[in-house]
Assembly symmetry: C2
Homo-oligomer: 366 residues x 2
């Protein structure tokens, strides 16, 4: 029987709709437990903060998913994971023996939680091992890599999903829904800002070889995504501007980028990302109203307003819902809603943004 967290339960409508509602159930007993069923086994590749503090705990709140293995290059981390998650040695891999995961029937999905430069390799190796793949953002270093990853998954008959958890967060789902224009009219303007003040040098996010880029690759991608789902269409042109105050710390990657995206409807997005500021907001102006999410992109604590009235949504575990949604897609043979193509489309935009920067802010058509 699944482990059910007291604070949240996953609405069983998930099974029907293919997605996922989570309602707050503090102090509320679960009247009907979900059906017993096989759970999809996830192997986490890369045991950094995100795996340790978000994904592994989330896998204790899932109904259709469970932690089934880990892949790590740090043997010192293994004992703690074994204790905390009851993992047997048979399901613990390193980067050398990773491909033998093909023979591990407990593992259905490889969740790639590695530095950006390793996404392509481990996605393809996982696909070749016959495993479905969930890949963290940004999908890869550039669109060409994304296409290779999509092709490999297709060739091996496995699903490729992107770790865009916010598609399973209620405020963001509302923004996606409002793109249709039925609620507040057509959206005309998107403002996306995601920036934080990065810590000291030495971390992989500041190395071009590992990260592929700076703030844009790391958190700017959320705003590229956000604009695309807020408008429900694909951008036709972009422009970008780069700013750098610390050419030593940010010798290899971008520090601050502002950019604009034009959409077929005429809608416009203006966005900023930075490793030298703090901002975390998604804002959409429609013909007949506005929606603001701030903070917008965190794992929790998301707050939003419609026409400046607070939205009241239950807290959700985005990762748990997302992994369960992917698990159901696998079980039911439905292609993932948040697929590799989603990641590719963002990377096409990001490639164009970097091209614009290299051409002094030139308008790049897509």
């Amino acid at each position: 029987m699944s482990s059910i967290n007291r604070r949240t339960f996953i609405d069983r409508s998930l099974k029907g709709a293919g997605v996922t509602l989570v309602a707050s159930s503090v102090g509320r007993s679960l009247t009907a437990a979900p059906q017993e069923s096989r759970k999809i086994g996830y192997a986490l590749v890369g045991l950094g903060n995100y795996s340790t503090h978000q994904l592994a705990p989330a896998l204790k709140e899932t109904v259709h998913s469970k932690l089934a293995g880990i892949v790590t290059g740090s043997p010192r981390k293994i004992p703690n994971w074994k204790v905390r998650h009851g993992l047997a040695d048979a399901h613990i891999y390193n980067y050398e023996n990773f491909d033998s995961i093909a023979d591990d029937s407990a593992i259905d999905v490889v969740y790639v939680v590695l530095p950006n430069s390793m996404h392509k390799e481990y996605t393809i190796r996982a696909a070749e091992a016959g495993k479905h793949v969930l890949c963290e953002k940004p999908m890869a270093l550039n669109a060409a890599e994304c296409r290779e990853m999509i092709a490999a998954c297709k060739a091996n008959g496995v699903f490729l999903g992107m770790g865009y958890r916010l598609h399973y967060e209620p405020h963001h789902r509302l923004v996606k829904d409002f793109a249709k224009g039925e609620k507040l009219g057509v959206p005309t303007y998107f403002q996306g800002e995601f920036a934080f003040r990065i810590g000291g040098p030495g971390q992989w996010r500041l190395k071009k070889e590992l990260a592929g880029g700076g703030a844009m690759m790391d958190v700017g991608v959320y705003c590229v995504q956000g604009a695309r789902y807020a408008f429900g269409e694909e951008p036709v042109a972009v422009r970008a501007q780069e700013f750098k105050t610390d050419p030593v710390k940010f010798a290899e990657v971008d520090e601050t980028i502002s950019w604009q995206m034009e959409f077929p409807s005429g809608a416009v997005a203006n966005c900023t990302t930075s490793y030298n500021a703090r901002t975390n907001r998604l804002y959409v102006s429609y013909e007949n109203g506005v929606v603001e999410i701030e903070p917008a992109y965190g794992y929790g604590g998301i707050q939003g307003r419609i026409n400046f009235d607070k939205m009241e949504f239950p807290a959700v575990n985005q990762q748990a819902i997302h992994m369960d949604a992917f698990a159901l897609e696998i079980m039911e043979g439905r292609p993932p809603a948040i697929s590799g193509e989603e990641g590719l489309r963002d990377m096409v935009v990001i490639d164009a943004l970097y091209e614009s920067i290299q051409n002094h802010g030139k308008r790049i058509t897509l």
Copy 2:
């Protein structure tokens, strides 16, 4: 004796500091009335919404200022103004006899509240009539006009102030103060957005000859201003991007512009203005915190947060405080704090923004 509004009173420390505190005094009796003194007489030139619904009412809440005359090209408006404000015919002018205002000793200040294209002419004519001038934003159609206006006021020995009322609004005063870096560290990023959905065609704001430009001239200027006082320095380079969805309605003026400003400290601003969206926000990220004002630029209802905690400031009548501050500057012979040079500096930036647009987003150094 001055008319004291029950809801607000102007702190008498204003007289000492040269500026301006207003405390909420709802239900509170004024224990000491301000000293009897001569009041500075304002003539409002242009009796549109802003004069009618903001400035004239504000002049009933001032301590050192009063409505002393009007200038209008619409005779039908006169009777109502006479009744509501007790104005004698001797102080009511039209655009033909405007220059005879020179002989009207009741009028100390001409407040120019006309379409943008008329700011230069009426500022210069007022200066030549020996009157001090308060000029609405944007100061003029371009920086060259601003320089002529400044020169005319200087030549005639009168003060020229800009109607930048937000310098007298507590949230914005805090942002100005925080530029020094003593409270939250150095500011590194500014986000300014001011946009509204403009009404039907026919209004002067859509005519280039009268407005000089569109959303940028009308409301974008607030973000240019905001970035300058948030950082406490002058921009060294700018870039801008224009977007247009309705080339008929916006045949003559800009609909949507995004732009970036670079400052000597390395601080960056990314801003948007539009006649086809709704947004009204000022956001500053500092080394050690953030300040957000939203809505930011209205005549009232301004709200702000420091590190996401709501700031509690009393409601103020920005226009009343500003006009009184200018009145005191005149009485005490102190050059205005918010001077024509302030307006000029913004217009230098705006000229460069339009130049950038005409050069496909080229970085323009200032």
